[in-house]
């Protein structure tokens, strides 16, 4: 039974901080309490707990633009957040976790704003069949959270610019992302702003739980604890764990034979490559690991690497051309 409703709105837009605050709030939640948390990330790809970042996103583009990549604790696929997106989190103890009731808060808030939305299964909220909110869940012992995105006024074109949504060619272990038809809430209500949506959410959560939400004050937060968690969320070992090493694979059959490239990446740099082929030009294949070592895992640097291999005849010309095409195909399938 929830007897106390608290809320907090993050003023920070650094994703590592916001996810750290979310985890901190989770494990501070009392048995009869719900914490409702609102937050926004600036220019961030958020990947699911068990996703391979090398497969899911264009890491070099993200870094080049100064955008961020962060791993959340909950499951599901990769999403891009910008300042037109508002995130919400319901944090409770397991016995108080009621996903339908929590979803009804979001629906109620939209109703207050004059938008008629529907919950579509457990995970999505839609309007006119288009998704504007994806939801995901995390449980650790008795502590649970349910969080989601709200597309309010995002640049839809940008949503997939960093994502390899249908990169089925990059086979690897991990959870895959799925592309959805999406919409901005602003399309349904022209004068909508992030602020009006926040207000509506607070009114709705109060109405649904019949409790007055109390704001969590800054001085109640354990800053050291949050900083420690922020270090975890921003660390390479958390975003790019070693288990995804050697799990990027490119493979193709060409007239001259079959080739398979296995990449061992660390922080998006190629630590080593294994190249297997039955091509007659063995020497060309042997060059590949050598020229690709320490390269950035991006289309241009892989192609530059291939260009360093000496071409001694027609066949090696053809192999080089085909491998370059294989690289382009694999790194651009979106």
């Amino acid at each position: 039974m929830i007897r106390s409703l608290k809320y907090i709105i993050s003023k920070n837009t650094v994703p590592y901080y916001n996810l750290a605050l979310e985890e901190y709030l989770l494990f501070s939640t009392e048995p009869d309490e719900m914490v409702f948390y609102l937050w926004q990330n600036k220019n961030t790809v958020v990947i699911g707990r068990n996703q391979n970042p090398y497969r899911e996103c264009k890491i070099s583009d993200i870094k080049k633009d100064g955008s961020h990549i962060v791993r959340r604790l909950s499951g599901g696929g990769a999403v891009y957040h910008d300042s037109g997106n508002l995130n919400f989190t319901f944090l409770v103890r397991h016995e108080n976790n009621d996903v339908n009731k929590q979803l009804s808060v979001i629906l109620k808030a939209l109703q207050l704003l004059g938008i008629n939305a529907q919950a579509s299964g457990r995970n999505d909220i839609t309007v006119d069949g288009k998704k504007f909110s994806g939801n995901a869940f995390y449980r650790s012992k008795d502590y649970c959270y349910h969080h989601g995105t709200l597309l309010i006024d995002v640049d839809i074109e940008n949503l997939s610019k960093y994502l390899n949504v249908s990169a089925s060619k990059l086979k690897s272990k991990g959870v895959s992302s799925v592309k959805s038809r999406v919409a901005n809430l602003k399309d349904y209500k022209k004068d909508l702003t992030i602020e009006t949506v926040k207000d509506a959410l607070l009114s709705a959560v109060s109405e649904v739980y019949d409790l007055a939400p109390q704001r969590i004050l800054d001085e109640e937060l354990d800053k050291n604890k949050i900083r420690e968690l922020e270090n975890k969320f921003s660390s390479n070992y958390f975003i790019y764990p070693n288990k995804f090493n050697y799990q990027i694979e490119m493979q193709e059959r060409f007239p001259w034979g079959e080739i398979q490239l296995l990449f061992n990446l660390k922080d998006n740099i190629i630590e080593s490559v294994r190249a297997y082929s039955d091509a007659l030009d063995e020497q060309f294949i042997l060059y590949i690991p050598e020229v690709m070592k320490d390269c950035l895992f991006s289309e241009t640097s892989l192609i530059d690497a291939i260009d360093k291999i000496p071409l001694k005849n027609e066949l090696s010309h053809q192999i080089a051309t085909d491998i370059k095409e294989l690289i382009i195909k694999n790194l651009n399938e979106s």
């Binding site: 909950s74 499951g75 012992k141 959870v175």
Partner: protein, 126 residues
Amino acid sequence: MKILKDLMYTKTHEWIKMTGDKKAKIGLTDFAQDSLGSLVFVNLPEVGDEVSKDDSFGDVESVKAVSDVFSPVNGKVSAINEELLDSPEKINESAYDAWLIEVEDIEENKDLLTPEQYEKVCNEEA
């Protein structure tokens, strides 16, 4: 809901089966797999990793939902069930056959729940 008589359990829905002196297999219970739904991914530690009692050693993911998995004992991972990495659904199919990890050098294994005690935990949560 199946609870086997020859296993010990935790409040966080893991089962533990002693497979030798100071050695045991750990898995998720039938109750856990049922409430999680169809699993799509299992995240396991590596052989040689230390596990600590009540600390998370991995996680399981069903559609969009991740749950941490906790170790009932202190010890060292001596094997992981690699089959689950490609076929997490084995946990849904047969939770008590689909062990997650094997732990050796177990220091002590107190505070574990008997099948009867665990059944009570499940009834309270259901």
